[in-house]
Subunit: 217 residues, 2 copies
């Protein structure tokens, strides 16, 4: 009988000891990623060297390498963690809102609140990461471009719903308005980080309100 | 007679040899800064280590240190160089335009053209630098905040002139409109770097046109 090869090793139920170590491993990984996301939001994703993070966490470099084989793997894992946090902080609060303008306003409110609460130490994680990697081709930039695209599509879809409900003018181009709200938010995020004063906060809110008021029916 | 101290050393006409070496020194400094600005626009101002730049220019680290005593000094000099380039590329083309909306449109056109021509390898130098340093207190961030403020004041002044000329609605808040145009430009700059396609270019232009059309008389 010929030998059979499979790409995956045969699965076996893990022993209690292995199960415990996997849980511990997952918790350590989560703790590393929480720190990684905050370091990256202030110092950039390029600041996420294994050495920099090891000294921040008081871990050995080899200990960190056991969790993330490379800087790029660590950067991608930090992006996934930041995305989960963003969904929880900005998207989740809008779930109960009615579709259309109500939900769109709820999203803008949630995003402004996420900025004000400083969920990430250095402001919006994605605004900072996209700006940092926008000129560096590779998997990190591609991942950030995909996430930004998902966000734009969500905005466009919700604007489309408001249009279908007759809440905004029929001649509004949903993709264009999504672009305008989004670029405003990214630019305002940097302004808030740079000056951190009440004037910028008010200007941000007024800018979003202006844009939405100009298209309501 | 008491000794007199002055803060400045007494000026003496330089000898021909000294004049030559000063000119050479200035040319080398300019060449270094040109490279520094392009490296920074792609890799960030933090990427401007003396070592990184020395290897890019094929110079020794000590040779670079003779021109810039520290990384911070190099970063500030790169910012000053980028500012001179920006003034030449974006402000100068508007000098002959009439005050008011004509000059404001000319400024937006010049800024869009500066982005399209990729004057800096990594897109708008100031958008990238401000985003990179917005969470890092210090002289570099302060300088970037000052330059951003000068830009906002210029926009506000020119919007004010358009208002005085009765070209835009009297209820337009010039500072708020300056903030809205500026944040849109910063956000759009990242979008253009991230996707670099015709759609984003059109959306940028349409967004600026929308904002200006909404306030004209």
């Amino acid at each position: 009988m010929p030998l059979r090869f499979t790409l995956m090793p045969p699965t076996q139920p893990p022993s209690p000891a292995r199960r415990r170590s996997t849980t511990q491993g997952r918790q350590t990984r989560q703790a590393i990623l929480k720190t990684a996301v905050n370091v990256a939001s202030v110092e950039g994703l390029e600041g996420l060297s294994i050495g920099r993070l090891a000294s921040e966490l008081g871990m050995s470099k080899s200990g960190l390498f056991a969790h993330f084989g490379s800087k790029e793997e660590l950067q991608l894992a930090a992006i996934a963690t930041a995305q989960a946090i963003f969904i929880n902080e900005v998207i989740r609060p809008t779930r109960k809102a009615l579709p259309g303008m109500t939900r769109l306003y709820a999203l803008m409110e949630a995003w402004l609140a996420y900025g004000e609460r400083k969920v990430f130490a250095g402001g919006c994680f994605f605004a900072a990461a996209a700006m940092e990697f926008d000129s560096r081709p590779g998997v990190v930039r591609d991942r950030l471009a995909d996430i930004t695209n998902q966000w734009l599509q969500r905005l466009e879809k919700w604007i489309g719903e408001a249009k279908e409900r007759g809440e905004i003018r029929a001649d509004v181009d949903a993709a264009q308005l999504a672009f305008e709200l989004h670029t405003l938010m990214w630019g305002a995020n940097t302004m808030l980080q740079l000056y951190d004063n009440a004037q910028v906060k008010n200007q941000m809110k007024t800018a979003i309100a202006h844009r939405l008021q100009s298209i309501v029916n």
